[in-house]
Amino acid sequence: MHIIENGNTAAALGVKLCRASVIAAYPITPQTPLTEKLSEYVERGDMKAEYIPVESEHSALAVCIAASSAGARVFTATSANGLLYMHEQVQWASGARLPIVMCVVNRAVGAPWNIWNDQQDSISQRDTGWIQIYCADHQQIIDAVIKAYWIAEKVSIPIMVCYDGYILSHTFMPFDLPDQKTVDAFLPPFKPDYALRPEEPANLNTVTLPDVRLDVRGELAHSYMEIRYLLQEELRTTLDVAADAEKRFAEIFGRQSDPFIESYRCDDADCVALGLGSLTYQLRVSVDALRKEGIKVGVMGLRFYRPFPDEAIAGALKGKKSVVVFEKALSYGYEGALTSDLKSALYEHLAGTGTLPSIQNFIAGIGGRDIRTDDLTKMFRAATHGRVSKEPLWIGLKL
């Protein structure tokens, strides 16, 4: 059924269809309409779940961690400083290997206070061991939530579904709302290998020594380093699981897309723009404008940021003369994190082939600064022939 709703509602509907049974959240703009919607579903009896109005984001993820450890399918959502306040719990959730799904409604982080959109919040959580999915429209938001539960529960790794605050969260767009039967066919009930229960006692997340130790049966048990190695290993194989999820999703829902990269007019392009989230849709307008001028450009939206689909990206960019990376966040003191990751992927897969494209990094929309399509087009055009600056260039800066 096609409906017209805002992005936060798209996410809430996805969570409802996935039958999350424990939801905990703390209010922060622009996440609030999403969790308000869920509380509404629960109070009205449309959704069978426990909704816990916690006193902080730290506790929101604490509730999810504990409820997931006890076998519930859980959900939380946050933005900006809320996500930063969770940071300790974010790391805990992945270390404990819990299939939590959390929406991050992207917003700038303080100081100074700013409630508008950029992606510094989720990008700053890049190294926490979570899977990160970025969405560019409402259909992607609801689909990503549904796929996220399937992937997270397959690999026992938590997932952030990230989408731009206001630009997606508060705008209305038509999208296809799947019915419950279809979602149930895609997503089986959550059955963890172990859930806390008195009949089968276990001590979870115990102090773990630097080296391996024998267990009571005399067998060597993993130590901290093995546990962490397996997180990395299984995060990398998540790329295959994500591809499987896409295939399965296409079979059941009849909607197909590339699991990692959403390309627009890239096939014959010499220069490709790369980005995360809604900005890549805006860049399509720039692509069309530049194409009219006879410049062969395209744009790629990256859907998976962690684990980083390096092979897919290098494959997609092979033979391109230049790549222009537009980012709404940066690794302060160097450049956009996506730019660094891209360079590393291209070095790995294309070094020595003589096909390394030039890379230009643009920073845009920090703290919700309006991104004018004309400006995007101008900057994009300037970088089509190669790098203009080693340092990232800030679009729309008024200094």
Binding site: A24, V54, E88, N205
Partner: protein
């Protein structure tokens, strides 16, 4: 009818294996062992980093026979809420959820989450084992370290501030049950747990825990020192049931006796109090006497 358990009627089933990693003479080991007996088999535990994390053993060995979730320092009560919520979605209304945290993990870094859970009225039992400092990290001061006590980060002057009254803070949440207990009176602890299990919402237990390395005494005197804290009227055993305050066990008996052991008898058993001056002790004695005058009056 209130239960009165004796050492002979205490259940023999153990939920803590012998030979834990607790220090010799650890008061927590006593309170935990007896506390788990009262909670029984159908219980899930939540534990933040603390002495108990160590007592419970190092992976892959555990000293507790009950399922236990180790959580971050500030999140204990919220984690208890999460387990409860999960049990609820499965229609499980019989398994008890019990959090065991230290005094720093409760009254300092864990207070926000605890207050949140208590305000929501989430149905679990929260135990704060109060050894009056960050003992697991080497005996630094906490909010519940008493005035005058030397700690690792108040080395030359002792703590200059008063002990934070955490059970009073919890009572202000209008809980169905708040209790103050001591490791030196394990049967009082046992009975209080059994008596409150059926009560709704969050139940809060504060347990005074003598700590040989943190307080500076020979491990064999732990019970004696715990009892002196009560007999001097310095630390009181009580319960607040639906807002009704009542002294219990040895503290209740002190009402009849009308005679407290002078508090300096308690202070001189521990090296952490060696900086207390006579005038400081006199002031503390005055405060104790004042508090007890109130208790006596209540009784009349």
């Amino acid at each position: 009818m209130q239960i009165k358990t004796t050492i002979l009627s205490l259940p023999t089933e153990e939920f803590v294996h012998p030979g834990t990693r607790a220090c010799t003479g650890c008061g927590l080991a006593i309170a935990y062992r007896v506390g788990l007996k009262a909670l029984g088999k159908d219980t899930i535990l939540v534990v933040p980093p603390s002495c108990l994390t160590v007592l419970q053993g190092l992976f892959p060995v555990a000293s507790t026979k009950l399922p236990s979730l180790n959580v971050t320092f500030a999140s204990t009560a919220a984690a208890a809420t999460g387990i409860l919520a999960s049990l609820k979605t499965k229609g499980n209304d019989h398994t008890a959820v019990a959090a065991w945290a230290g005094d720093g993990g409760t009254g300092d870094i864990g207070l926000q989450a605890l207050s949140g859970a208590a305000e929501r009225g989430d149905n679990f039992i929260y135990f704060c084992y109060d050894n009056e400092g960050y003992m697991n990290t080497g005996a630094q001061r906490s909010g519940t370290t008493p005035i005058g006590a030397i700690t690792a980060n108040t080395p030359f002057k002792g703590k200059l501030q008063q002990k934070k009254d955490v059970p009073a803070i919890m009572a202000a949440h209008k809980l169905s049950y708040v209790a103050a207990c001591s490791a030196a009176y394990p049967l009082d602890l046992y009975d209080k747990i059994r008596n409150c299990l059926h009560l709704p919402g969050t139940k809060y237990f504060h347990i005074h825990i003598p700590c040989p390395p943190g307080w500076g005494y020979d491990p064999r005197y732990g019970i004696k020192i715990g009892r002196l804290a009560v007999e001097t009227g310095y630390y009181d055993l009580y319960e607040i049931v639906n807002g009704q305050f009542k002294l219990t066990a040895a503290s209740e008996k002190l009402i009849e006796k009308r005679k407290l052991v002078p508090v300096h008898e308690y202070f001189r058993t521990q090296s952490r109090f060696r900086l207390l001056t006579d005038s400081q002790i006199a002031e503390i004695q005055r405060q104790i006497d004042e508090k007890w005058k109130g208790y006596y009056k209540q009784e009349e």
